[in-house]
């Protein structure tokens, strides 16, 4: 067995170890938050004959009508878990795309700006078809399709532009995406003149905010899972996906082995842009507005999620599932700070520490793997 093939066969085991480690971390966090988060009193809701959620009232001993209140665990209740999943989804979806780029040995600093540009351009299109727009008479479903194509199209185009310039100009991705980060946000600002755009078609809002059961909004969660599965299958089961690992591990060797480096690079930046477009689309539908300031600083959150999820900034390592779990860990910490009532100013310190610990654990994991490899050789 050569060193390379040994490394190849060791990679899935290491990856599984890392992801199972993240799952354990998530479970421990969940248990701790369930125990120490305490309980919360919330009004009871029911679904009426028209399918609308309404509060449940009763008449008390004094003959007054009062809302029925139920007590729930602050962390472990359906609404909070759905909220956690929804808040995670925007960053997790982009983190899957960023993981592709990081595995290939690159970096995409423009994801936040791509998210903003896709948001505002799609918002302008949606507003045209919204209740106050000039095209309000057009079929609502057609407007939804046009808006979605715009959002995903702009995101993909930004990604292709990044990839194209990195390949054609042979400039480090850090420089190119640093430049496009400013350019994309600048375009968004020029277009909107710094103003918020709202007034989207109700059909689109209803589609993204669609609630099931006890007011649970599961569309962002569903999309996040689909993106992670597609990304995961592509990376681990497709030849094209394995090539991403190959060029991240050793670009020169990959070139000599006949891999079209440029094509692979173009594809990873395309995917990163596309995922930023998907996250922007969900945000538009869920929150109902867009400004050029959207996604400010998200590039760092996205990279942090990918790194906590096991992606190595030197390339060749990472997974879509890891990115999702990394984003979930960060969001759980952030939500946990609210649930436990800890001063918000500590959140940045805690999250920053988690990122450093994750990288140290990754290095320790690599050291263990190297030791195992050396032992296998002997």
């Amino acid at each position: 067995m050569t060193a390379q093939s040994a490394a190849e066969s060791a990679r899935p085991r290491r990856s599984r170890f890392q992801e199972s480690g993240l799952v354990v971390v998530i479970l421990v966090l969940g248990v701790l938050l369930s125990i120490f988060g305490g309980k919360v009193k919330v009004p009871l809701f029911q679904t009426n004959a028209q399918g609308e959620r309404e509060r449940v009232f009763r008449v008390n001993v004094e003959g007054e009508r009062e809302a029925v209140i139920v007590e729930k665990n602050k962390f472990f209740n359906a609404q909070n878990l759905a909220q956690l999943a929804k808040d995670t989804s925007f960053i997790a979806i982009m983190a899957v795309g960023a993981t592709f780029v990081i595995i290939s040995g690159g970096i995409d600093l423009s994801v936040g700006a791509t998210y903003a540009l896709a948001s505002v351009l799609a918002a302008i299109v949606f507003r045209q078809y919204g209740p106050d727009g000039p095209q309000s008479a057009v079929s609502p479903w057609l407007s939804v399709v046009i808006g979605m194509v715009t959002c995903l199209g702009v995101g993909s185009l930004c990604g292709l532009l990044n990839g194209g310039m990195i390949v054609a100009l042979r400039v480090h991705p850090f420089i190119i995406t640093l430049g496009t980060m400013a350019i994309f946000r600048g375009i968004a600002f020029v277009i909107t003149k710094g103003q918020s755009i709202g007034g989207f078609p109700e059909k689109f809002r209803d589609l993204v905010r669609c609630e099931v059961g006890d007011g649970l909004s599961l569309v962002p969660l569903g999309v996040m899972v689909v993106v992670a599965i597609v990304g995961g299958v592509y990376l681990s089961r497709q030849t094209a996906g394995r090539r991403v690992y190959a060029i991240g591990g050793n670009e020169l060797a990959s070139r000599f082995s006949g891999i079209h480096i440029e094509r692979v690079k173009l594809s990873v930046y395309f995917f990163s842009g596309l995922t930023a477009g998907i996250a922007a689309l969900l945000s538009l539908g869920y929150y109902g507005g867009a400004t050029s300031g959207d996604g400010q600083g998200y590039e760092l959150n996205v990279i942090a999620a990918a790194v906590v999820g096991g992606a190595s900034l030197s390339g060749g390592k990472g997974s879509a599932l890891g990115a999702l779990l990394g984003a979930l860990v960060i969001q759980m910490i952030s939500s946990g700070i609210v649930i436990l009532g800890i001063d918000q100013n500590y959140s940045q310190i805690i999250i920053g520490s988690v990122v450093i610990v994750a990288v140290l654990l990754d290095q320790f994991n690599n050291w263990l793997a190297r030791r195992r490899l050396t032992a296998a050789k002997m």
């Binding site: 909070n80 710094g194 918020s196 709202g198 929150y287 400010q296 939500s335």
Partner: protein
């Protein structure tokens, strides 16, 4: 007589024991401002915490302020914070909206879940908030022009510094300035000058305008953007008159130097204090405010009272 005093002592001690044993009702109010890095919102936080302390003592309740403000302006993070506060059991929320479009649904959802929401500084007018506290923008612009006309003795050429040309609240302030300028026939409005809302861009705009229009004798600044830099106004003190909105610590230096004749301070400490008062009235006393719009007056700060006003910042900014 002895028997009666014994009964009285017994009664009083039982009252005292009951009162002491009775747990205070705890209210948690979420405070979601626009950004952590802006000192006006730190003042709002200090105000809210002081109100929590004062009202807790006054009404024998316990009030906790849960500060959930994004590091930088991010309406999505604000909406998430509102949703998280509702799930964490907050009894009420006060928010300054970075983007009304993005926050309307989150506010409505909180209200639907039985959590009343107040807005301060920046409103979401189409939401179900029960009260909004802040300045009346048209009146703010009118006051700026009125005060400027006074210091210019009713004559001269005025430039309006107006920030972002598409911000609805700033447009209202510009309208207010123009409304009042009509009352002064010897005052001519040269132009409304828009710029990116950063101190550097605003200072550069003032300099460009003054170079191109040396006959300008008055500035109506409906926001104090250039005054956050320390060398924005290049004229000799008193040669050009200036009235500006806001009176943060860096802006006060221009009053002392005589470059600015009057600052109209927004009551950012009160944004927090008054919001907590509204929330206590709503959730503890089940009382609605007399009107949904609670207008906060501007405080005039001149060279005469600048030192007195500056002391407020020692109280308003967190220690």
């Amino acid at each position: 007589m002895k028997f009666i005093s014994k009964i009285l002592v017994l009664f009083l001690s039982s009252v005292l024991v009951t009162t002491a044993a009775e747990p205070k009702k705890l209210y948690t109010f979420g405070l979601v401002a626009k950004s952590q890095s802006n000192p006006v919102f730190q003042a709002a936080r200090t105000g809210a915490e002081q109100a929590a302390k004062d009202l807790s003592e006054k009404h024998r309740i316990a009030i906790k302020i849960d500060w959930r403000t994004p590091n930088d302006e991010d309406a999505q993070k604000q909406a998430e914070a509102i949703e998280q506060l509702v799930l964490a059991g907050a009894n009420g929320i006060a928010v300054s909206c970075s983007d009304a479009n993005k926050l309307t649904d989150a506010i409505n959802s909180a209200v639907k879940n039985g959590v009343p929401v107040a807005t301060f500084d920046s409103d979401a007018p189409h939401s179900k908030r029960f009260v909004t506290y802040g300045v009346d923008d048209i009146k703010c612009g009118e006051q700026v022009m009125d005060e400027l006309a006074k210091v210019m003795e009713g004559k001269g050429v005025v430039a309006i510094l107006a920030g972002n040309q598409n911000a609805p609240n700033l447009q209202k302030r510009v309208q207010g300035v123009k409304n009042i300028a009509k009352n002064y026939p010897d005052i001519k409005i040269r132009e409304v000058y828009y710029h990116k809302e950063t101190p550097q861009d605003a200072a550069a705009k003032v300099e460009q305008v003054m170079q191109a229009n040396p006959d300008i004798t008055g500035w109506a600044m409906i926001g104090g953007w250039p005054l956050f830099t320390d060398n924005a106004l290049k004229w000799q003190p008193g040669t050009v008159k200036c009235v500006a909105v806001d009176a943060l610590p860096p802006e006060l230096a221009y009053l002392r130097s005589g470059h600015v004749q009057l600052l109209l301070a927004q009551q950012c400490y009160e944004w927090g204090y008054r919001s907590v008062e509204h929330l206590v009235n709503k959730v503890h006393f089940k009382k609605n405010p007399p009107a949904v719009v609670d207008v906060s007056p501007l405080i005039p700060v001149s060279k005469a009272n600048v030192e007195e006003f500056a002391k407020n910042w020692d109280k308003w900014l967190p220690k």
